[in-house]
Amino acid sequence: MTKRRIVIGIRIVTIAAIAVFALTTPGFTSPISINALLNAISFIGCVAVGMTFITLTGNIMSLCLGATLSASALIFLASLSAGILPAFVLALAFGIIVTAAQGLLVGYFRANPILVSIAGLSLLIGGADLATGGQRIYPGGEGLQVFKGRIAGIPVEALYFFATVVIGQFVLSFTRIGRVMTMVGSNARAATAAGINTAAAITWAYVMAGACAAVSGVLLAARYGSGDMELGTGYDYTAIAAVLVGGTAIQGGSGSVVRTLIGVTVIAVIEVVLLLRGFSQQLQYLITGLIVLAVIMLHTIGERR
């Protein structure tokens, strides 16, 4: 009991420290910096929410969400000629199919999730190269405005991101399948013995991940007005870092989308604060890396391995 209180205490103190550090930085509360913050959070945040589902079900991480993001963006841009909504739906469907296929392998056969994601990465890169010939893809039609710009002063990306967070956490907290995902991550054998369809739960978790990656891809495509497979480079690492910084356990069974939101925010705030305080980009990178390492270590001290 006391150990638990200590862990929670450390977390609160850490967040408070970061908050103080941020709020005492000149310019942090200016519209420009809040904007930059929201932007940074939104794109990576969507992917991180998706990654949360994969980690929560005990499948550690995926190395191909970034590629899924890029490929969905390409699909979105290419199908804009058919209209905004169909393009969006197609992109979403593509993301879901790509990850669901992986989820089926991991769920039904317990194939190794990291291996399957590396395979998916290869296939996505190869497939995209085959389809596009390495060219950048430009919008096939009108309608990008829906996914960029502002509403009431808030960047649209941020709104989409928060919607993703709300939907994601809703699934986890209020649906049966969400509770089941946590149980599968906690103890897959016990879940099977309890009559749970673990294969379906894992597949749904991957579906959520694919959908979230696709949303992020659409948002990025809208922002940059064009896309190629480089769009999502490095997103997997930042996403899993956000998940771990937020406190979701790497072995699964414990965590939430809200925690990932906190994790993404913490990382983004640190980056913005370092920028505002005049640290060079290199130092930003280094200090962010060190803080991520420190926070991950802090979380697991006091928990089980």
């Binding site: 209020f174 649906t175 049966r176 399948i177 509770r179 089941v180 946590t182 149980m183 906690s186 103890n187 054998r189 016990a190 879940a191 099977t192 013995a193 309890a194 009559g195 749970i196 369809n197 356990a249 069974g253 414990s254 089980r304």
Partner: protein, 501 residues
């Protein structure tokens, strides 16, 4: 027995974990060429004492003596150097390596570039002594039966010049032939001057192989006696502190209609043509050691075995095997023998564990009804005797006995009383909680459940069942009604049944 100071001893030793005193002022000593049994119920302190000897735990009070001199044993490596070796219940062999490599695994004296010929010779000699002389040392351990793996572990101890060998429940998973091999190996070791500490629940073996026995109860030493001077009854009294009768509740049962009919249940290589009929309000026990197929038969009925075939009817509905959901729909629920690995969600709360089997019942359109779930959790907790104050605590904070009650609560979460399949329901559960669990089992029977359980504890089988089915190597040996059979007969059935008859 030769003279000289005892090889290993503890004097007035006390060990605490938090507020619990697990060992209280324990004094005992082991001499050379002695085979000492240490007996006691689960939770009596046997494994803690072993961990003190092997350097895993340090004592809070008292002294540990090696060769008569007070010595600290700060780590397992030091224990190894003092010549204290342990063959634990969970084997310490790496499945991916060969027998030869496993024998030398972790041995300080192996040089960097192993001289394979020498090592193989010594390993061969050790294997010979334990009766595995015909086993090629290159065999991967993953291909060996559990019994043979045990013998490989003993062979490993021999190559470490161990002086005191501690065996923790060595025969729990062995066939009778393998048990005989172990015994001859132990006798040979004794004549070479080694001492053996033998931890077991099997009282018959205590009298067969051991020179003396020390009994622990609730962390205290009840006494140490030569085996020639006491008998089984007295040993049990020393262990339990009370006579057998009080453990098991009395009942008068009125079994109702048939709830479970099993025909020709088979799992290739493990269960052969198992048949059973069980009625409402009845407790049927499958008695058998590990490897008898009792546990596997129940797992197959629960839907957990992929290769199971047979005809099963539950509540008058035929059910197809190989799916837990199909079994649950027919009100057949399962309590696993592997509590930590399969029975409990350790990091989830007690309440979340309790409702794990009935989430579908308490959801609408895929949404959980949290209010209903809270109510259901409270009801199940009460029915299973789980402390309501602990509903929000994580399940791993509960003791083994309470976790088992948690598993029980989960199993009765269906909407009507059905069949409960239990594998080794009191494994790793201490005395007090065991009595509670037996009471719960009978309560469930009164409520209309039909209970089928598998157990290797013959006293438990005799104390709890209306019907006993003895099993050996995957086959049913005999079926008895309550009161028709005694302990000796059941023991004979499950260890070496008569060939034909």
């Amino acid at each position: 027995m030769p003279d000289g100071p005892p090889i290993l001893a503890v004097e007035g030793v006390t060990k605490r974990f938090g507020p619990n005193e697990v060992l209280k002022n324990v004094t005992l000593s082991i001499g050379a060429q002695e085979i000492r049994a240490i007996c006691g119920e689960n939770g009596a302190g046997k494994s803690t004492l072993v961990k003190v000897f092997t350097g895993v735990h340090q004592v809070d009070g008292g002294v540990v003596l090696v060769d008569g001199k007070p010595t600290a044993i700060p780590s397992p490596l030091h224990a190894q150097e003092f010549g204290i070796a342990l063959v634990a219940q969970e084997l310490s062999l790496a499945p991916a390596l060969s027998v030869l490599d496993n024998i030398w695994l972790g041995n300080r004296k192996v040089p960097l570039f192993h001289r394979r010929k020498e090592l193989r010779e010594q390993a061969r000699a050790a294997l010979e002594k334990v009766g595995l002389g015909d086993l090629p040392p290159e065999t991967p351990v993953s291909q060996l039966s559990i019994g043979r793996r045990q013998l490989v572990e003993i062979a490993r101890m021999l190559t470490r010049d161990a002086r005191v060998l501690i065996l923790d429940e060595p025969t729990a998973t062995l066939s009778d032939v393998e048990i005989e091999r172990i015994f001859s190996a132990l006798r040979a070791l004794k004549s070479e001057g080694k001492s053996i500490i033998y931890i077991t629940h099997r009282l018959g073996e205590v009298f067969e192989i051991c020179d003396s026995v020390s009994v622990l109860r609730n962390g205290e030493l009840v006494g140490t006696r030569p085996t020639a001077e006491i008998d089984r009854g007295e040993l049990m009294r020393m262990m339990l502190g009370r006579s057998l009768g009080e453990m098991y509740p009395k009942w008068t049962n009125m079994p109702g209609k048939r709830m479970l009919v099993v025909e020709h249940l088979s799992v290739p290589g493990i269960v052969h043509d198992f048949n059973l009929a069980a009625r409402r309000g009845e407790v049927v026990c499958l008695a058998g050691q590990v490897g008898s197929g009792a546990i596997e038969a129940l797992r197959a009925l629960a839907g957990l075995v992929a290769a199971a075939t047979g005809n099963v009817t539950a509540m008058d509905q035929p059910i197809r095997l190989r799916s837990v959901q199909r079994a649950q729909r027919a009100q057949v629920q399962f309590i696993s023998e592997d509590r930590a690995g399969e029975g409990v969600f350790l990091n989830l709360s007690v309440a979340q564990n309790l409702v794990a089997n009935c989430l579908g019942l308490h959801s609408r359109f895929g949404m959980l009804r949290h209010g209903d779930l809270r109510e259901a959790a409270a009801k199940l907790a009460t029915a299973a005797g789980v402390d309501l104050a602990r509903l929000r605590s994580p399940a791993d904070e509960l003791s083994g006995g309470n976790q088992q009650k948690l598993a029980f609560g989960r199993a009765i979460s269906g909407d009507e009383p059905g069949v409960l399949l239990m594998n080794e329901p009191t494994r790793g559960v201490d005395v007090g909680a065991r009595a509670e669990i037996y009471r719960l089992i009978r309560e469930f029977c009164d409520r209309g459940y039909c209970i089928v359980m598998a157990s290797s504890d013959i006293e438990e089988v005799l104390g709890m069942s209306d019907i006993i089915v003895s099993m050996y190597r995957g086959r049913q040996i005999a079926t008895y009604r309550r009161g028709e059979v005694n302990q000796q007969q059941v023991l004979a059935d499950i260890t070496h049944p008569a060939a034909a008859a």
